[in-house]
Amino acid sequence: MGGGQSVPKITKQDRAILDLKLQRDKVKQYQKKIQAVLDREHEIAKQYLVTGQKDRALFALRKRKYQETLLAKTDSQLENLEQLVSTIEFSLVEVSVIHGLQQGSEVLKEIHKELNIENVEKILDETAEARELQREVGNMLANSLSVEDEEAVQVELRVLQGETLAEQEVHEPVELPSVPEGLPVSAEPEEEQPAEERQQRIPMPA
C-alpha cells in the first residue's frame, strides 16, 4: 500500500482523552474486583450460617454492605469520567463542524466576488443588446418580401384553397335519405305529443 496518507499528529487533547479512558478502565476493573469480593463475602456468610456462627456471618454481611457502598461510589465516579470523555469528544466534533463552516463561508465569499452587481448588470445589458440585435435581424429577414410578392402569394393561396374545395365536392358521395317502404303511420301514441310540444316551446321565448 502506498502510505501516501500521513498519520495525524498526536495532540494534547488525544493524550488527555486517552488518560481519561485509561482511568475509566481502571475504575471498571476496580468495580469488577469489588463485585468479586461481594460474591465472596456472600458465600462466606452462607457458610458461617451453615456452621451456626451467626456473629461471623453478620460480620461478613457488614463487610459486604461496605463494599456495596464503595461500588455505588465508583459508579458515580465512572459516570463523571464517561461524561467528561463524551463532552470532550463532542467538543472536538463541534470544532470540526465550525472549521467546516468557516471553510464553506470562505468559498462562498470567493464565489460572491465573481458575482458583484456591476458585473451582473453589465452582463444583463449585453444580453439585452444581443437580443435586440437578433430581433432586428429577424424583422429584416421577414420584411424582405415586397408588397407585390405578398399579393401574389395570397392569390396562390386562394387558388389552392379553391382547388382543394372542388376536389372535395367531386369525391364526396352524396347521401340521400331512402324512400320509405311502408305507408306512413298516422296514429302516434298520445304520450309523445306533450314532448313534442315542449320541444317546440323551447326556442319560442322572446
Binding site: G4, V7, I10, D14, R15, L22, D25
Partner: protein
C-alpha cells in the same frame, strides 16, 4: 463399527459443535508409529483443534488440558463414548507440529506447555479489528486496549489475548490504518480510515 459425526451437547452455547466422524475412531487418539499415518492424524487434530477453538472462541490450549478433566477442551480431547482420550504427550507433539505451521505460538515463549491458537492469523485479526472499528463508528476515536478486549457490547474481539491484539494493531500501523498513542499510564490506539478500500 460404523463411524459417524457427533454433535456435542451445547451447554450454555446455542449451537453444539459437530465432531467429525474420525473423532469416534479409537486409533485417532493414539500416536501412530508409522510417520505417514501420524502425519494424517496430526493434520486432522490440528484442524479439529482450530475449528473447535473458533467455535468456542478459545485462545489458549495447554498440554495440561489433556491430563485433567473439567477444562474447556474436554469435548474434543476425550471421547467417553469410545472410552478414549488424547495423551498429553500426543497433544504436546501435535502442538509442536502446529507451531511449526504457524497455527499457534507458544505463550509465554520458550516453553511448550501452553500456547496461543491462531485460528485467525494476526493479519486476519487486523482486518477484523479494523472492520469492527469502522462499522461501530470508532474510527478516529482513541480507544484503550482494555476497551477493545472487554467492550460493553460483545464484539468479535471480546476476549482476544493482548499479544494477538498488539500484533494486529502493529500490522495496521504499517499501513497507516492505526496509530498507537502512549501516555505515562498506558497505551491506546486510534484507528484511521486508511487507504485499503481505494
Amino acid at each position: 463399527m460404523s463411524l459417524s459425526p457427533h454433535t456435542t451437547p451445547s451447554g450454555n452455547l446455542l449451537l453444539g459443535f459437530l465432531l467429525p466422524s474420525i473423532h469416534a475412531a479409537p486409533p485417532f487418539f493414539t500416536q501412530q508409529p508409522n510417520p505417514a499415518t501420524q502425519a494424517i492424524v496430526t493434520e486432522q487434530w490440528s484442524r479439529l483443534i482450530l475449528s473447535y477453538a473458533r467455535h468456542r472462541q478459545l485462545f489458549t490450549v495447554r498440554v495440561e488440558d489433556a491430563e485433567v478433566t473439567g477444562g474447556e477442551w474436554d469435548e474434543i480431547l476425550r471421547n467417553d463414548r469410545i472410552n478414549r482420550r488424547l495423551r498429553s504427550s500426543h497433544l504436546a507433539y501435535i502442538l509442536e507440529q502446529m507451531a511449526a505451521k504457524n497455527q499457534l505460538v507458544y505463550d509465554p515463549p520458550k516453553q511448550s506447555r501452553s500456547a496461543l491458537l491462531y485460528w485467525r492469523t494476526p493479519e486476519e485479526w487486523a482486518e477484523v479489528l479494523h472492520e469492527w472499528a469502522s462499522t461501530t463508528g470508532q474510527l478516529n476515536t482513541i480507544l484503550t486496549f482494555y476497551e477493545i478486549i472487554e467492550p460493553p457490547v460483545p464484539s468479535p474481539l471480546s476476549g482476544i489475548p493482548m499479544q494477538i491484539l498488539r500484533k494486529a494493531i502493529h500490522i495496521l500501523t504499517k499501513t497507516n490504518r492505526a496509530q498507537i498513542i502512549a501516555v505515562a499510564d498506558g497505551e491506546g490506539v486510534r484507528f484511521l480510515p486508511g487507504n485499503a478500500g481505494k
